[in-house]
């Protein structure tokens, strides 16, 4: 079996558990954390990465995410790239990551993974997933399940 990488969760059980947090137990995301995005009015699929991924790979990773979900990608540094779907948010201070309480990876740097926020601004799923670009089915399944 493959050894955990530097971007993986220190606790393997917390990475890609496939388990949605119950609405009553889910934390809420203040709208101010993602100004200008539809948090609280429609479900949001929030991607974390350390750089803006290549457009084709990114589009392929999100191909199963329903069109009714708003997509936002959060990166720590300013980038000139545009993304083929959704909006780009630059967050050098990691405020968004802190707001959704995504784990820090083993190397202690910025997270690579995603969170699914429902239409009432509750974080129902959050995970590190350094290979999220290869998990289009799983991304789509989680995004579809969080309404």
């Amino acid at each position: 079996m493959s050894a955990p990488g530097s971007l993986d969760d220190p606790n393997p059980a917390d990475q890609r558990p496939g388990f949605l947090t119950a609405p009553a137990d889910a934390i809420a995301v203040p709208g101010l954390v993602l100004p200008g995005n539809p948090v609280g009015s429609q479900p949001v699929f929030l991607v974390f990465d350390r750089r803006v991924p290549p457009a084709a790979e990114y589009a392929d990773a999100l191909k199963d995410v329903p069109r009714s979900r708003a997509v936002v990608i959060v990166v720590p540094r300013a980038a000139r790239h545009t993304v083929p779907r959704g909006r780009l948010v630059v967050d050098p201070a990691g405020r968004v990551a802190a707001a959704v309480r995504i784990d820090r990876p083993r190397d202690g740097g910025s997270p690579v993974g995603y969170a699914a926020i429902d239409a009432r601004a509750r974080v129902r799923y959050v995970t590190l997933d350094p290979a999220y670009l290869d998990h289009s089915f799983e991304n789509g399944l989680i995004a579809e399940a969080v309404r």
């Binding site: 890609r16 496939g18 949605l20 799923y125 290979a131 998990h135 399944l141 579809e144």
Partner: protein, 441 residues
């Protein structure tokens, strides 16, 4: 080896046939290989490992419990590993068709919870190795014990739990039934047979009193009880009779008074029927005679929780008794401390029996109790000794079966008056034996 023993042995050994295990192993390895690659394709191979180890642990526990309950290995033991793994990973199959995990999916062997065990798969690996190693060790001991029985020409002791699970039973050869003699050598005047969950110790006070009066007394531990608990692989009434006949033959020809207490009454009556010339008279102390089967179940169930489970035919009884036998020293300690008003040596003997011996004795009293027939149509002069407060051998039920050849004596006490009021019981037995000897003279 007899044909019956060969057949029984073949049946017991079937789950361990190399061909069967080979096919199962091949199926297990191929399927697990395919599953591993499926998980790896989803970048989730560590979850395959977790659920495989959980499945292995559960399968080992189930197979171990089966070995204890049934006293024989289960068929398809390697396939049970695959079945348990498939059950444990079922939520992942649901996930693959679009159903996210939910708390209720913990019903699949703790599908979500198992990932949160401290140290994760390392802990599961240790647990799985301990569980499967324990099962493999018990199976090897079971196999060795049963092989010993097969080599001795006995039917394998299938269904024998507890320490007997891993200890070969012995054949009741001539005189092999363990017994204690009171009085001078020679053919016994009196044979005292104990009851269920007891041994010759229950008769010790009365036997000493009879010895003081000059009688020769033999008190055996019945087949599967007391020091005879490793003797025999079957415990039907006929087996008790054969073992007793061997013992009395070894002690010399005679025509003793045969005295039974509780279940021992059933053995005494069966022995008198099978060997009418080897018995002069019967004394039945607290015979468990019941009006009907329902009443028998109620009365015998009053012996406690375990008796109720046995009467109900519950596998929990086998499992509990098997565990108690394995932990016999602990059971001895507990029973001697908890049994209120019962002499230490008698309480100690209440856990000195094999599970099949206890089970078969109880089912004999329920389904093929010879006592009602013996009281209606006695083969020998019979004295019945009852206690006024004995709920297990109620006077009313015994009186449903009157016969002029049956003499009724009523004493005070409960079912255990055989040692609690040993002088009175011994007096009745002595009077009967003296009368027999007087009549013979």
């Amino acid at each position: 080896m007899t044909a019956a023993a060969e057949t029984a042995w073949a049946r017991a050994y079937r789950p361990l046939r190399p061909a069967s295990l080979g096919v199962q192993l091949a199926l297990l390895v191929l399927t697990e290989y395919a599953l591993f690659h499926s998980y790896r394709g989803h970048d989730a191979d560590f979850r395959w490992a977790t659920h495989f180890l959980v499945g292995l642990t559960v399968a080992a526990a189930i197979n171990l419990a089966w070995l204890f309950v049934k006293g024989a290995p289960a068929r398809g033991m390697l396939l049970s590993v695959l079945a348990a793994h498939l059950f444990a990973m079922a939520p992942d199959v649901l996930f693959s068709v679009g159903v996210p995990h939910a708390p209720w999916m913990n019903v699949f062997l703790g599908h979500i919870w198992v990932h949160y065990l401290p140290s994760g798969d390392k802990s599961w690996l240790v647990i799985a190795l301990v569980a499967s190693g324990t099962f493999a060790s018990c199976l090897a001991l079971w196999l060795r014990a049963r092989t010993g029985e097969a080599e001795a020409g006995l039917a394998p002791g299938i269904g024998i739990g507890g320490s007997a699970l891993v200890t070969a039973q012995r054949t009741p050869e001539r005189g092999a039934l363990v017994s204690v003699r009171y009085g001078p050598d020679g053919p016994p005047d009196i044979v005292l047979l104990h009851g269920l969950a007891a041994s010759q110790h229950v008769w010790a006070p009365a036997a000493r009193l009879l010895q003081e009066r000059g009688f020769r007394v033999v008190v055996p531990d019945l087949l599967g009880f007391g020091d005879s608990r490793r003797i025999g692989t079957r415990f039907l009434l006929d087996d008790h009779v054969d073992a007793l006949a061997s013992l009395l033959e070894a002690t010399g020809a005679g025509q003793p008074v045969v005295v039974g207490h509780s279940f021992g009454c059933a053995v005494a009556v069966a022995f008198a029927r099978a060997h009418p010339h080897a018995v002069s008279e019967l004394v039945l102390v607290a015979p468990p005679v019941f009006r009907d089967g329902q009443r028998a179940r109620e009365r015998l169930g009053e012996d406690g929780w375990l008796a109720r489970q046995v009467v109900a035919g519950s596998p929990v009884a086998s499992l509990t008794c098997g565990l108690m036998c394995l932990l016999r020293p602990l059971a001895e300690m507990l029973v001697t401390r908890l049994a209120d008003g019962v002499p230490r040596e008698v309480a100690h003997e209440s856990v000195q029996h094999s599970w099949p011996a206890y089970r078969d004795a109880l089912t004999t009293l329920l389904d093929s109790n010879p006592l009602p027939g013996a009281l209606k149509h006695p083969t020998h002069p019979t004295t019945v000794v009852l206690a006024d407060a004995d709920l297990r051998a109620p006077k009313g039920d015994v009186l449903d079966h009157p016969h002029e050849a049956v003499t009724l004596v009523e004493l005070t006490g409960d079912h255990l008056f055989v040692y609690a009021d040993a002088p009175a019981v011994a007096a009745v037995i002595a009077a009967t034996t003296t009368a027999v000897e007087g009549g013979a003279q």
